[in-house]
Symmetry: C2
Subunit: 156 residues, 2 copies
């Protein structure tokens, strides 16, 4: 639709006149943008990882979330090893273009520890407490040789 509002005068010149999300992204010096994955219906924040331009484009083209692995320096198709894929429901971009919000349908668990989401530690009563337990055995997700060769995540 030609009348779809694609810009916001208050949000800064960098993104004016971008009709495609990827053209409005302000990738950092590494060529990366932060992406928050949120379960679309419950609102649960699942994880945060990084995307490069190719990962953003693949995610939009395939409807399956693809990140960029800083440690492997390559595309990280979430779930390609573990089966715990994220189907894309909607991809959103923030006001200054440096953070994406992916609304997803998470199959199984998002965290390489076997937990539903990665944010399972919290300050409670002055101590760092573990507030969620694994729903799946990490070895079942990745095998016993997983080695954690990742950005802090196994590349599941």
């Amino acid at each position: 639709m030609t009348d779809t509002p694609t810009t916001d005068a208050r949000s800064g010149a960098a993104t004016l006149n971008a009709h495609k999300l990827v053209d409005a992204v302000r990738f950092d010096a590494r060529g990366l943008v932060a992406c928050i994955a949120q379960q679309h219906d419950t609102g649960e924040v699942l994880m945060m990882a990084w995307m490069n331009r190719e990962a953003v484009e693949e995610t939009l083209a395939t409807g399956r979330v693809c990140y960029y692995s800083r440690s492997r320096q390559g595309l990280w198709r979430k779930g390609e090893t573990s089966g715990q894929i994220q189907k894309l429901v909607e991809l959103r971009l923030d006001c200054d273009g440096d953070t994406l919000l992916a609304l997803v349908e998470q199959h199984g668990v998002a965290c390489h520890t076997g937990r539903r989401n990665c944010f399972f530690r919290a300050m409670r009563d002055g101590e760092l407490a573990t507030i969620a337990e694994p729903l799946m055995d990490p070895e079942a997700l990745y095998g016993s040789h997983q080695g954690h060769s990742h950005d802090g995540h196994s590349h599941g």
Copy 2:
């Protein structure tokens, strides 16, 4: 409580034996950690910004969210200009220690554009669409001289 589980053997050695959240954070080369702010009751993802160690400590000490402004190179007490403060409900840390999730009570709007949250642009029907309108006038938040001297956000 001495029996509070504070570590997870699967989550990596970097965070073992940390009893305080700030000691479990893996700050990046700039000394920063990403922080996602989420409205605690609705699950709405409001914004993403950065914290340094001092900002994490102040946030936990005061119960009001304090970020670190990369452009101003100093603490950014959310709401100190605009009044749109974030009261901290709980601070969580992800599995590899490089992302925080702040559950907050957002007063008013989180976004410097006057919108409730920063993620108001989305790919719909192949175009980048604006999916939320401002609830407040940005000039009322910051005055007409705001100048956007920020990390993409006015320091409200």
